[in-house]
Amino acid sequence: MERQSVLSTEDEVGNWIENGMTIAIGEPAPMGMVRHIIRNQISGLTVIGSGIALDFLIAGGCVSKVISYYAGGGFGVPVAPSFRHAAQTGELEVWECEEGVLTSGLEATAKGLPFLPWRGGVGTSLPEVNKDLRVMEDPINGEILLAVPAIHVDVALLHASKADVFGNVQHQGGPGWIDLFLRRAANRVAVQVEKIISNEEVRSDAWATTISNADAVIRAPYGAHPFYSRGHYTQDKKHLKLYVDAATLAVTGEQAYIEEYFRRHVYEATSHIMYLEEIGITRLLSLHEY
């Protein structure tokens, strides 16, 4: 018998994701998988995510509930346009939270607990607008705390620098955001990587391994485009502006630009490699960090 490789494809990981599941989107954003989900018209998802990457999935019609701490826009708009519109019209359920609250809920799941207490959010409207958050009196000292229920995640989709085929993942420049919390809370985790490396290379620097036992790794160079991948490339601001402008027009009723955007970048580019061809090597290579 041989040790089993977890090297996977977009399609294989895509088959894990069913309508109505809870998925988490890490940072750097696993955009190859985000586009795959939109292309496959997955719907009714609960999404833990932030910013414009989250907005892509909302604009793509995949999301019915957002576990949200931040959906800022940038590129001329303070709030991600599709998120803002869908939240204002009631099309999108918002499970209002905050970074410390969210990480408490994820950690409760990882630790097999029904909830974890957290102080950040005491005195705020969070427990009023999110009835799942309970104000509690701690049984030790009688302090006022929030009880954050365990947040369950079916699939976490992450993007990192490199991994071997056995699911040992190493981030260059540190793991992003709350990716390690998402990993610990999720039933399954798939990690897109810029590069597949040998097991020997992993073992030469075992301290650099940030995630072990990933359920799938996907070879996806430039897989976070149009967002950054630390140690590899910066955000593609021109491309993000294109998306933000199209999404902003779409919520005012002018659908043509967002339809054209999705047609070119999602529906007709039927794989990550075809997407990269659509973006073009000149643009991709201009995004170097230094």
Partner: protein, 266 residues
């Protein structure tokens, strides 16, 4: 009301210089996204009088006092900011040591700010699931404002819609319903909001009531201008002054070493 410039420096530069003077050597300064004035202020203070300050952007913790230039990142989520880091942690891990945040200083904005310094990033409206204006969300502000030693509210505008009697939603607790013990009553340990800095003025929180109180108006601004632009009855300090303008040294360092691209002058 909005002023684009006061004499030959902009009001954003005035705000950054004022804020930099509030920061003390040894402070740990945490700056989030979309806050151009604090981004510049912490760098200016670091050069001017803060060799032992720590600057924390996006989880990257740095001391860059020795650098010739501390340029502002081109945009909020520029991953190149980590090039200066001495250490880096994701946000979750940073939340594991909140007991030591008494040295930490934070800066916050909002879509609404009320007279007791509570702030709202959730949105405006009555029905949370159908807001009139959906804000970006709380980010990490509920946790940060709960635990940091002190924080500053920094606003890009000063209007009655922004500075309101009562926030529709509170995403970060300031002084609650007022009173010097407002935070203590709820067991909230951090030092709370100290000042609110806007393009018109600087306000503090009265010692006993914790009501916002006008303490200085920027050059060219009157008390009536401020009152007219504020959505609640504003107390005026009997020590009211005019905000001190930047010195030549401060302005030279700000423009030459912190903000050479002029992001505070546009």
């Amino acid at each position: 009301m909005r002023y684009s410039s006061v004499d030959n420096f902009t009001v954003q530069e005035l705000m950054a210089v004022f804020l930099a003077r509030q920061l003390r050597d040894g402070d740990h300064l945490q700056v989030g996204v979309a806050l151009p004035v604090p981004e510049a202020a912490v760098r200016l203070a670091h050069i001017m009088h803060g060799p032992n300050m720590e600057l924390i952007f996006l989880g990257a913790r740095m001391n860059v006092h020795q650098l010739e230039q501390l340029p502002l990142p081109e945009f909020g989520w520029d991953n190149r900011v980590v090039r200066w880091a001495e250490s880096y942690s994701d946000r979750g891990h940073r939340f594991d040591q909140v007991k030591d945040w008494y040295r930490r200083v934070f800066f916050i904005g909002g879509v609404q700010v009320d007279r007791f310094g509570n702030t709202n990033l959730i949105g405006i409206g009555n029905d949370h699931q159908r807001l009139d204006f959906r804000g970006p969300g709380s980010v990490g502000t509920a946790t940060l404002t709960t635990h940091v030693g002190r924080y500053y509210i920094v606003l890009n505008n000063h209007t009655p819609r922004l500075l309101v009697e009562k926030c529709d939603f509170i995403s970060a607790f300031g002084w609650g319903d007022g009173g010097a013990d407002a935070r203590k009553r709820l067991g909230i340990p951090g030092g709370g909001p100290q000042l609110c800095i806007t393009p018109l003025c600087v306000m503090d929180f009265a010692e006993d009531t914790k009501c916002m109180r006008l303490i200085s108006v920027h050059p060219g601004v009157t008390v009536d201008d401020v009152k007219g632009a504020t959505g609640f009855p504003l107390e005026v300090s009997d020590k009211l002054t005019t905000t001190k303008i930047p010195s030549l040294e401060e302005l030279t360092i700000l423009r030459g070493r912190v903000d050479p691209s002029g992001s505070l002058r546009s």
